[in-house]
């Protein structure tokens, strides 16, 4: 949508610099465009200018014997012009699309590297709008405005120069009219921007209302609320209609006003020119040519104004894009890498193959086997300064242990896992993984060592098998099926119309929440990571299905360090240690029996479930 954005770029220099870098990759092509545009514009001007010599010289002299020469010269000029136009329009399309392609690619690549905080604090819609609206306006500007602007600028200046050459006295009149036109356009532009801003605000409000109501449409039906809603909508619709009518009326007056000014200009010039011709101050050929120029002169002014609006909103879009591209990506200063190793006589050596055995490789090349020992030391954290979520958390998970977190929503359970895999960094304290601060480990290595089943399962367009393979891109079909069996997803997948080749539609809309979670578990199973983090992994699976998964999960957890977060206490009972969390603190810890014996919060939670039986 090319709405009148009404937004002007704030930091023009920086934006132009960044955009310039993209344009710079096509210097030669753009130079060619500029040259061809110039030829095309000049040809247009000269062609019209030729009216004078054709009338005055070629027709009037020698009884018109040389008319053919004049016409051929004109034809040659015009031909060059049209040919250049063909050239620059084609080149420009290629260059523009290539630039847009580059921008889209770089933007996505950069956005992906941004820290999670960016995604948690920015609406997906806003990020999407960078890719759609903002990239589109740039694309349009490059496609149309760039060449048009150069052409019209040349034409406007050229026309003025030629007008002065043809008749400088008349040109003073023209200059005055030009000036009036420009002043009017500027004044009117400001005024209409005001109208458009108002319309834009109401439109935004309206869109918000529509979004909310459509989202709640089923609730509306259940409460028989359709009539009330309709009248609420009608009111807003009417408001928008009125504002829109006002804005458009105003915007549409600009063109007739400018056109009329140009005609008045034309009339004055024609009359004065006629009088001058009678007095012999000008010849008839000049006047004829002159009048055609005057008629043409209004066009570039119109065009330049229109295009500059497009260009301004494109620059505003470019600014938003480049601002995002200049954001700091995730901090990744770690140097320790995760590598595959083989063991021979107690000696481990790095291996290029997937051996299923892992080790940490330090910068100096020394290898220490991955054990899965995770310790949190006095960890304090808040998503924003001054708002602490976790207070002084210390805990350890020895290799192969299962650590569970329980507690109410908002107690900070998920936050802890966010810190372990460095979606966020601790504010204070330290997380140590096999003796290394997690910040010293390269981020992708760290994350590869941790298998996570996230609270919200997102699936991708592709087949079921592709989605499981997301955990291990080169997994064979056998591995995929084995993983699905571990997660107990195999039986439902088999019953799908095309089994493992069934397409997953728009984020898994054709699967139930429970089935999606099973796939998420399968995804981790195929990844086969040394450490597991399960965040409410089974919350949407009914208890029967959950029981079915449990066996597979036990197999999956065997020999691995596991962090598990669950609402249901039954799922965490066999943990080595259970952390009971409340308001960002660990209030109780111990295994199931110890905690029950403490008769504290865990006991209450646990018996709260049971007191009713």
């Amino acid at each position: 949508m090319k709405q009148w954005s009404g937004k002007k770029p704030q930091n023009l220099k920086k934006t132009l610099g960044a955009l310039g870098a993209y344009l710079g990759r096509h210097k030669l092509m753009l130079l060619a465009v500029a040259v061809l545009v110039t030829i095309s514009a000049v040809a247009n001007l000269l062609g019209t200018f030729m009216i004078k010599p054709v009338v005055n010289v070629f027709i009037a002299q020698d009884g018109g014997a040389r008319l053919i020469t004049g016409v051929l010269i004109t034809a040659a000029i015009y031909f060059a012009g049209a040919l250049s136009a063909l050239g620059y329009t084609q080149i420009m399309v290629n260059v523009a699309q290539r630039i847009i392609y580059d921008i889209r690619r770089d933007l996505l690549s950069h956005v992906q590297k941004l820290p999670l905080k960016y995604f948690d604090t920015t609406k997906t819609g806003d990020v999407m709008s960078l890719f759609t609206n903002d990239v589109d306006t740039i694309s349009d500007a490059l496609n149309n405005s760039f060449a048009t602007l150069i052409q019209n600028a040349i034409q406007a200046v050229g026309t003025l120069i030629l007008l002065f050459v043809l008749n400088w006295k008349l040109s003073i009149v023209v200059a005055v009219c030009y000036f009036a036109m420009i002043m009017y356009i500027r004044y009117s532009g400001k005024k209409s921007k005001m109208y458009f801003n108002r319309q834009q605000n109401i439109l935004g409000e309206m869109d918000g209302y529509i979004e909310e109501m459509i989202n709640g449409q089923k609730v509306i039906k259940v409460f028989n609320h359709e009539e009330e809603n309709l009248s609420g909508f009608k009111e807003r619709c009417e408001q928008l209609r009125r504002a829109g009518t006002g804005a458009n009326t105003y915007a549409d007056t600009m063109l007739p006003a400018v056109v009329t000014l140009s005609y008045i200009n034309y009339a004055i010039v024609a009359v004065l020119g006629g009088i001058m011709a009678i007095r012999g101050q000008t010849d008839i050929g000049s006047l004829a040519s002159y009048l055609v120029f005057v008629r043409q002169s209004a066009m570039p002014i119109n065009q330049v104004t229109q295009q500059s609006n497009f260009i301004l909103s494109a620059l505003a879009g470019a600014e938003r894009i480049f601002e995002t591209m200049q954001r700091e990506p995730e901090v990744d200063d770690g140097t320790i890498q995760l590598v595959n190793v083989t063991e021979k006589d107690g000696e481990i050596t790095e291996s290029g193959k997937k051996t299923g055995r892992w080790a940490w490789k330090e910068e100096n090349g020394s290898l220490t086997p991955l054990r899965g020992d995770v310790r949190l030391k006095n960890v304090t954290f808040g998503y924003s300064p001054g708002h602490t979520i976790l207070h002084d958390i210390s805990l350890y998970a020895k290799p192969g242990q299962k650590i569970a977190f329980v507690g109410a929503t908002g107690a900070g359970k998920t936050t802890i896992t966010n810190l372990i895999n460095r979606f966020y960094d601790v504010t204070d304290g330290q997380i140590v993984f096999d003796g290394n601060d997690v910040r010293d480990i390269k981020k992708d290595s760290l994350r590869r060592s941790l298998g996570i089943v996230l609270q919200d399962t997102h699936l991708f367009n592709g087949t079921i098998a592709d989605n499981i393979r997301f955990g291990k891109l080169d997994a064979t079909m056998d591995e995929v099926i084995a993983a699905a069996k571990t997660a107990n997803a195999h039986s439902f997948i088999r019953r799908l119309p095309k089994g493992y080749d069934t397409m997953v539609l728009s984020d898994g809309a054709n699967l139930s929440q429970g089935q999606r979670q099973l796939l998420a578990i399968a995804r981790v199973a195929v990844e086969d990571p040394p450490v597991l983090i399960l965040d409410e992994a089974t919350s949407s699976i009914d208890t029967r299905t959950e029981a079915l998964i449990e066996k597979g999960m036990d197999r999956l957890m065997e020999g691995r360090t596991v962090f598990v977060i669950a609402h249901r206490l039954s799922t965490v009972r066999n943990a080595n240690a259970i952390m009971v969390m409340d308001n960002g603190r660990i209030v109780e810890r111990g295994d199931h029996d110890e905690l029950l014996a403490q008769k504290g919060l865990y006991y209450k939670l646990y018996t709260g479930l049971f007191e009713l039986s």
């Binding site: 009216i51 027709i59 018109g64 016409v71 004109t74 015009y78 031909f79 049209a82 136009a85 063909l86 420009m92 399309v93 290629n94 699309q97 889209r104 996505l108 992906q112 990020v127 999407m128 694309s139 869109d207 529509i210 909310e212 459509i214 449409q217 609730v219 309709l230 909508f233 928008l240 009125r242 829109g244 009518t245 804005a247 549409d252 007739p256 005609y263 008045i264 009339a267 024609a270 009359v271 006629g274 011709a277 009678i278 008839i284 009048l291 109410a408 590869r448 941790l450 997102h458 991708f460 891109l473 728009s506 984020d507 139930s512 995804r523 990844e527 009914d542 206490l569 646990y606 479930l609």
Partner: protein
């Protein structure tokens, strides 16, 4: 097709639309007469050295210009009224239609896509009308008048137009015909890019957790490259318009110069007339370009028109019956041989052969695995969907015999995917009872255990919830949704897993509160066995069938599924 259908929604603004068109034509006529007058100045005024004549012609031109301004301004007004009215009509029509949609209709469209159809798509169409109106009205008029006036100035010279106009027309026609299918391909390529980005953004945690940034970039690379290639092909074709236009316009100019020059030499033409005809060249040829541009724009808006039409053409699935029953006498429910599938074409039934009887005032629990069709079952009671076979009776009548609003007033349902609306707590609660006073509201909140947290909020019932209730937690939201439904004082109330985010202790309190409303039939879908074990009857649904019905005691004795659920959920207790 789609555009034609959409065009009807100009509706009551037809008059303004026609007036706008007329003004454009007048404006065009005035503009076009100016070069005509001008040639008089040169050929008559200058030639006869008649200054008065020149002045009089100048005044005529001035008057034409001013008239053109007046008509231009009036056009602006009327076209703004017409196009904005059209947009408003279209929005209203869509919204009205959506209000009539049943759940089945709503299921067909994704929420986001419905929002786009009502916002962006309408804006696109409105703009198409707004920007297209002027050139569409103006171009044919300018074309005809321009050629006619040139012919009047000099018929033989004007013959050039009769060759060049069709030539340009043909070229533009072929370009457009080639481009039209390209645009839908372009749209598809663009959709693929957008959905790739959207997918990446929503799943960013998974992407990062699995370190799949490079893989995602690779995937994006292919859709992005495809979009580039398609865009290049499309726009290169479109870009042919301009040079084609210039070639032909220039040819016309050169031809007119040539023939005009010869005519002047032989005395068959005046210089002023030649200048006049030359001025018309740009004007006449430009009209064709404008038409081509408008058609291009319309082509791009066809996709929007189609999407809007899909909403407008969707038939509401549920129909009110002829002589509806207006009151629901009691809260009894009966399912007789009910089978259901979501669409006629679906292969498998979601529910098959369900028979149930629920007495007024009873409390009924429903248990079953994920995808067992528990939600589907209860949504048949307030007739959110119609059964495929069999019948559902409420208060002794088939639900299809009731007036839909009356039925839904009597059957309250707390949906699983529930929403609150922006506004205060009070605004939201009043959805249940428009006239409720504060005491009544608090009363309902107490039953739903929403009072505890509301009392802690500084503004109580006047607390602003923000859009979609973002200012409160999931459990609090669920409790408000329960209170909202209680305020309807329905004869039957259905809880579709609506306390999943509420802790067990609070949930027990809510159940205790509900027990104080003995006349209300209560149906509770739950995951936790504790939520339903005290009910009058428990219905176990498995794979779309009623697997067993009974009380906690009988089911525990006899039903394997119930025993299994009990085992998994209550294991802890057994050990003690």
């Amino acid at each position: 097709m789609a555009l034609k259908k959409i065009a009807k929604y100009i509706g009551g603004y037809k008059r303004e639309f026609i007036i706008a068109v007329i003004f454009v034509i007048i404006e065009t006529a005035l503009e076009l007469s100016i070069p005509f007058v001008m040639s008089d100045i040169i050929d008559v005024g200058i030639k006869n050295r008649d200054i008065d004549f020149i002045l009089s012609r100048g005044i005529i031109m001035g008057i034409c210009a001013v008239l053109a301004l007046v008509t231009g301004l009036l056009y602006a007004r009327f076209s703004a009224i017409a196009s904005n009215g059209f947009g408003a009509n279209l929005r209203m029509a869509e919204y009205e239609k959506i209000q009539k949609f049943s759940f089945a209709n709503l299921d067909k469209f994704e929420t986001a896509s419905m929002v786009t159809r009502m916002t962006t798509d309408v804006t696109v169409l409105q703009r198409a009308l707004q920007t297209g109106l002027r050139p569409i009205a103006r171009s044919p008029a300018a074309l005809v008048m321009g050629v006619a006036m040139s012919a009047f100035l000099n018929f033989r010279l004007a013959l050039v137009f009769f060759v060049c106009v069709p030539a340009l027309g043909t070229v533009l026609y072929f370009v457009l015909r080639a481009v039209a299918p390209m645009f839908s391909r372009l749209q598809r390529a663009m959709d693929r890019v957008n959905s790739a980005i959207q997918e990446n953004l929503t799943a960013i945690r998974a992407v990062k957790a699995f370190v799949r940034e490079d893989y995602e970039e690779e995937k994006f690379e292919s859709v992005n490259a495809e979009l580039m290639t398609t865009s290049k092909k499309t726009f290169r074709l479109v870009a042919l318009n301009l040079p084609a236009f210039q070639f032909i316009m220039y040819t016309a100019t050169v031809l007119i110069m040539w023939f005009g020059g010869k005519l002047i030499i032989t005395g068959g033409l005046q210089v002023g007339e030649l200048t006049g005809v030359l001025s018309y060249v740009l004007q006449v040829m430009n009209t064709l370009m404008m038409i081509a541009n408008v058609i291009l724009q319309l082509t791009r808006s066809i996709a929007s028109a189609r999407r809007v039409c899909e909403i407008l053409d969707e038939e509401p699935e549920l129909k009110d019956c002829q002589n509806p029953v207006n009151t629901v006498s009691d809260g009894s429910i009966e399912f007789r041989n009910v089978s259901f599938k979501y669409s006629a074409g679906a292969e498998e039934y979601v529910l098959s052969d369900v028979n149930l009887k629920i007495k007024p005032g009873e409390t009924v629990g429903i248990l079953g695995g994920t995808g067992a069709a528990k939600t589907t079952l209860v949504q048949l009671i307030p007739r959110l969907y119609d059964v495929t076979d069999g019948a559902v009776y409420v208060g002794g009548h088939d639900v299809r015999e009731y007036d839909m609003a009356a039925l839904r007033d009597a059957v309250g349902i707390v949906l699983q995917k529930n929403v609150l609306f922006s506004g205060t707590v009070r605004d939201n609660l009043r959805w249940g009872d428009k006239t409720a006073d504060d005491d009544t509201l608090w009363e309902a909140c107490r039953t739903a255990c929403a009072d505890e947290f509301l009392e802690k909020m500084p503004n109580g019932l006047d607390t602003d919830l923000g859009q979609g209730g973002v200012n409160i937690s999931g459990g609090q939201k669920q409790r408000l949704c329960i209170a909202r439904t209680l305020l309807k004082r329905p004869k039957i109330i259905i809880f579709d897993d609506s306390t999943s985010a509420v802790d067990t202790a609070t949930e027990a309190k809510i159940r205790a509160g509900l027990a104080k409303l003995p006349d209300m039939t209560k149906i509770i879908i739950a995951q936790r066995i504790t939520s339903v074990m005290d009910t009058d009857q428990i219905i176990i649904i498995d794979e779309g069938k009623v697997h067993a019905v009974g009380t906690h005691e009988t089911l525990l004795k006899s039903d394997p599924i119930y025993q299994e659920i009990y085992q998994t959920q209550m294991r802890g207790g057994d050990e003690k």
